[in-house]
Amino acid sequence: MNAVNAADTSFIIFATTLVMLMTPGLALFYGGMVRRKNVLSITVHSYAAMAIVSIQWVLIGYTLCFGKDFAGFIGNFQFIGLRGVGFLPNANYAATIPQSVFMLFQLMFAIITPAIISGAIAERMKFLAFSVFILLWSIIVYDPIAHWVWGAGGWLRNLGVLDFAGGYVVEISSGISALVAALVIGKRKKLKTITPHNIPMTMIGAGILWFGWFGFNAGSALTINGVALNAFITTNTAAAAGIIAWSTCEVVARKKVTSLGIASGMVAGLVAITPGAGFVSPMASILIGGIAGALCFLSVTVVKQRFGYDDSLDAFGCHGIGGIWGAIATGIFASKAINSAGTNGLIYGNIKLVGSQLIAIVSTIAYSAIMTFIILKVISKFMSLRVTSEEEMDGLDVSLHGEEAYGGIDI
């Protein structure tokens, strides 16, 4: 049995299923926020990510992320087609679970990351263009960044950058790419009159995301130990703090706490704790989640209106901003006492960590933004990115998919 530990393996298999469920959860979360006539179009974006990335991953994605390092930039084709990925653990990453479990667990992260981007281009992007985008973005943006941060030999990992569960790899990369995509594709028509069509659906999605995030963060310990349980606690705590902070901002700004605000504050807190879940204390996670709630609230209500970009479902506002704050916060609050594999942060007198985190933030932002822009421009040479004006008015479900989500009257 080599070094395979049954308890760790069961835990990570379970965590894999939790993270898997987050993508359908995201589909529900986003689905409720778009108009009735577009709910299916945003839903299929998430499911398309599940389909496309699953195949890309087993062919080349896994090996590009976690294969033998080349120049600190990307993995080689050591594991192409899952060659050599079996029951034997890969000691570089998770010494007590089969490598196939590690590979599957990581797949779920690779799936949800491009799905997050769908939130920025909702209600106006062509399905074929977005599907091609998912494939190219996964290869060109997700895989390299994952290798930099988590791959053995990755240049950011070598720099001592701490990213417990995907603050850079998932949140910042998708958040920034989302903003670029929203700017390239342009605003939806009649922005001022768009309202969510099914907030209960969004709330169900939000609950599923919170539930799945335990697998996302605690599972990233890749073993059952104090760090995993610490991540479990900080994840829940940050979500709660995010809700309270966002709701407080709502009361101050508008005198009312909204359900959509609660869902958004929750996501902001969860995003922010992602890079630091296994490095910071539960007390720190209250601050991290709380500040994320307030920052994302401002980003979504003030900054978005001021600059006028149509990041429709706040992929940048929550994931981008939340991720950036979370990465910095990890640099501030990380503690070796909580995770001996980590480093101490600013509050323990170490300024180097914040420095490394900032380098990682800047390089992730720059690389994601530039490559996303190039990918979209290249795709646009072969097909249109945006639907026609008529398709946008009629609704994407009927125009692009020939389907009505809720049917007409009963006759």
Binding site: K190, T193, M393, D394, V398, G402, E403, G408, I409
Partner: protein, 120 residues
């Protein structure tokens, strides 16, 4: 009283609703009733697919805007609606004009022309 009230029904595609509402507001009409309806006429509808089975959907979603006017000329309302909604293609919709016998405002019992007015 010899006041003439007219009801104007505008059935059209929902994509132009905001423009229509603004245009009506601009000529002094602020009250209206709007409903989601399904309708068919000359427009043939579209095909939908359910697990490979193609269905012809002949009832299309439209919106119906109902306004009642007294002082504002009916012809003006009709002209404004035509101008905003016209694309020349099938699916632009229809306008119906009816006579109305009386209008009552429930909150203060006003009848006739007074029930339509929103004087301060």
């Amino acid at each position: 009283m010899d006041q003439k009230f007219s009801k104007i029904d505008i059935i059209t595609s929902s994509s132009k609703f905001d423009e229509l509402k603004e245009a009506l507001n601009a000529i002094g009409i602020s009250g209206m009733t709007v409903s989601n309806v399904l309708g068919c006429g000359m427009q043939k509808g579209h095909k939908e697919f359910y697990r490979g089975l193609a269905l012809d959907i002949n009832l299309l979603p439209k919106i119906k805007v109902e306004v009642v006017v007294c002082d504002i000329p009916v012809d003006l309302v009709v002209e404004i609606a035509k101008k905003v909604l016209h694309t020349g293609k099938m699916g632009d919709g229809k306008i119906f004009v009816y006579d109305v016998k009386n209008i009552i405002r429930i909150s203060n019992g006003a009848e006739g022309r007074d029930a339509l007015r929103y004087d301060k």
